[in-house]
């Protein structure tokens, strides 16, 4: 198998080859490192490549597997981390200038768990500065570029993660999602990504944006790969007070169920005139596939809860400002103008309004749970449009448009994911968002997997991956 073919294997395809020693972790790691060398200069998906560490970890995995000490399906799989996950002894910038030279003294919980699973860390992925933006434009490190059209944005804030997965530079990457930051770049770059239920994955050792809306989750080539990664990283962690003591299912096993009989609600509010025709056509086609798989498809409206969305903006800005107030005076010039301005106005939100925004969430969650008694999964376009140009991405108002369909589910904390469901003009990917009830990631993964068994959108590659 050639290096290029190795890079293109999903984690689920690579794992049995590593286990059987048909492929060695060192071979797989070298293949991805070579792909990074070829492709990353054009796309800027990595802020740091940890090649020596990766080869050391791969050699260790090779030796362990050789001794029959196979740890599971991530053993020997090369992966990357968004650069907001702390890495002990390795620079962690948060995409910022402020933390440009910061070296943490401990790892994130996610990093620990992936190391225990035997995964091989390739490096740290580019991200929007402090995760406070949806484009991955950066005056500090230059923009990450969309692999399907380098004049366009990747989406963000986990833009580098999505690019790495989309081009074979990484088999999966850990992102984070506060208003859509996993699903947005997943949609724009044509990969799968999941924001699990709030509290499902520990955020210990992850730079915060807004504590009560931040979620840690993976981006990967398929729903099947997402399930494998979730199996390794979920579960309670006393070091993260938002981490929940709930039963942990086997997400890979959950994929085996059929789509037959699942009640799917198509969110009509996100199929309105603000959504481009090609996106609506792509999503309608995807819904037809779900219907053909035996899902019971109906239309649903979120109008009853739409009024609560102001709480998302209020909480996001106030919590982000609370974290950043330490630098807002002393390091103001070290932020990009766009980010510092959002933090500055966030610092002026009256306390009563923040508190009431949090109180409103309780009502919102109750209403949304009531609504979801009639549906197992809600679906919508992840994005109202395909990836915009780098120039359009610089417009401040673009963030609201890009996060239009995603941020509600950060406010709710419900699990939500994006999978590729077609291509628009210019061969730009279209994403389908799937939303589930709390703690029911298995249901949306199951529907996504069934869809991906019936379609091949998730197996398309941008031509730059052949470089």
């Amino acid at each position: 198998m050639s290096a290029n073919e190795l890079c293109r294997l999903s984690a689920a395809e690579l794992a049995p080859r590593l286990k059987s020693r048909e492929v060695s972790p060192v071979e797989a790691t070298r293949a991805t490192l070579e792909q990074i060398e070829r492709v990353n200069p054009a796309l800027n998906a990595f802020l740091l490549v940890t090649a020596d560490l990766a080869l050391d970890q791969a050699k260790q995995a090779e030796a362990e597997i050789g001794r029959g000490e196979y740890r599971g399906p991530l053993h020997g799989i090369p992966y990357s981390l968004k650069d907001l996950y702390y890495t002990r002894g390795i620079r962690t910038t948060g995409g910022s200038n402020i933390l440009g030279d910061w070296v943490p003294d401990h790892d994130s919980a996610v990093g620990e768990r992936l190391r225990e699973a035997g995964a091989v860390l390739l490096g740290k992925n580019h991200m929007h500065e402090f995760a406070f933006g949806t484009t991955n434009l950066s005056p500090h490190y230059g923009p990450a570029r969309n692999p399907w059209d380098q004049t366009r944005v990747t989406g963000g804030s986990s833009g580098g993660s999505a690019v790495a997965v989309a081009t074979g530079m990484s088999h999966f990457s850990m992102g984070s999602d506060t208003g859509g930051s996993i699903r947005i770049p997943g949609s724009f770059c044509g990969v799968s990504g999941i924001k699990p239920t709030y509290g499902r994955v520990s955020k210990f050792g992850a730079l915060p944006l807004a504590w009560s809306m931040d979620h840690a989750g993976p981006l990967a080539r398929s729903a099947e790969d997402l399930a494998l990664v979730l199996n390794a990283i979920v579960g309670p962690d006393p070091r993260d007070r938002s981490s929940a003591e709930v039963p942990v299912p086997d997400f890979a096993a959950a994929l085996q169920g059929a789509a037959m009989g699942l009640r799917v609600g198509v969110i009509q509010d996100y199929m309105d005139d603000a959504v481009t025709g090609e996106i609506k056509a792509g999503v309608r086609q995807a819904v037809q596939v779900l219907d053909g798989l035996g899902a019971e498809v109906q239309e649903v409206s979120l109008a009853e809860v739409a009024g609560y969305l102001g709480a998302a903006t209020t909480i996001l800005h106030a919590e982000a400002a609370a974290y950043h107030v330490r630098w807002l005076t002393s390091r103001k010039v070290d932020y990009s103008p766009a980010v510092v301005e959002r933090l500055q106005v966030g610092s002026l939100i009256p306390a009563i309004d923040y508190v009431n925004a949090q109180r409103a969430r309780t009502v919102l969650v109750d209403r949304a749970l009531e609504l979801m008694r009639n549906y197992d999964v809600l679906v919508s376009p992840t994005e109202p449009m395909t990836a915009c140009t780098l120039e359009d991405g610089a417009r401040p108002e673009i963030h609201n448009t890009i996060a239009r369909h995603t941020r509600m589910f950060n406010l709710l904390g419900f699990p939500a994911m994006s999978i590729p469901c077609g291509f628009g003009e210019g061969n730009l990917p279209i994403g389908l968002q799937l939303v589930g009830r709390p703690w029911e990631e298995g249901t949306i993964l199951r529907l996504a997997h069934a869809y991906q068994q019936a379609t091949d959108w998730h197996q398309r590659w941008p031509s730059i991956a052949d470089r």
Partner: protein, 65 residues
């Protein structure tokens, strides 16, 4: 604070001062319309019916070791 529709640079300056921040004149010029935009989201929260006193903001203690 003034009515949300009448928010001006003076309001933003006063709030910044209370928050321990200082904005230059040019920053005030840029930030005032942005703050007004942000307060539109806040306005939508204010329009919600949150009279129920049982709607609490909570916090969780860790499990007793």
């Amino acid at each position: 604070m003034s009515n949300l529709d009448d928010l001006g640079a003076g309001d933003v300056q006063r709030l910044a001062s209370l928050a321990g921040l200082e904005f230059s004149d040019s920053e005030l010029l840029r930030l005032t319309p942005q703050f007004k935009g942000l307060m539109q989201a806040v306005r939508r929260v204010r329009e919600l019916d949150l009279d129920d006193g049982d709607l609490a903001v909570t916090f969780q203690l860790p499990e007793t070791p």
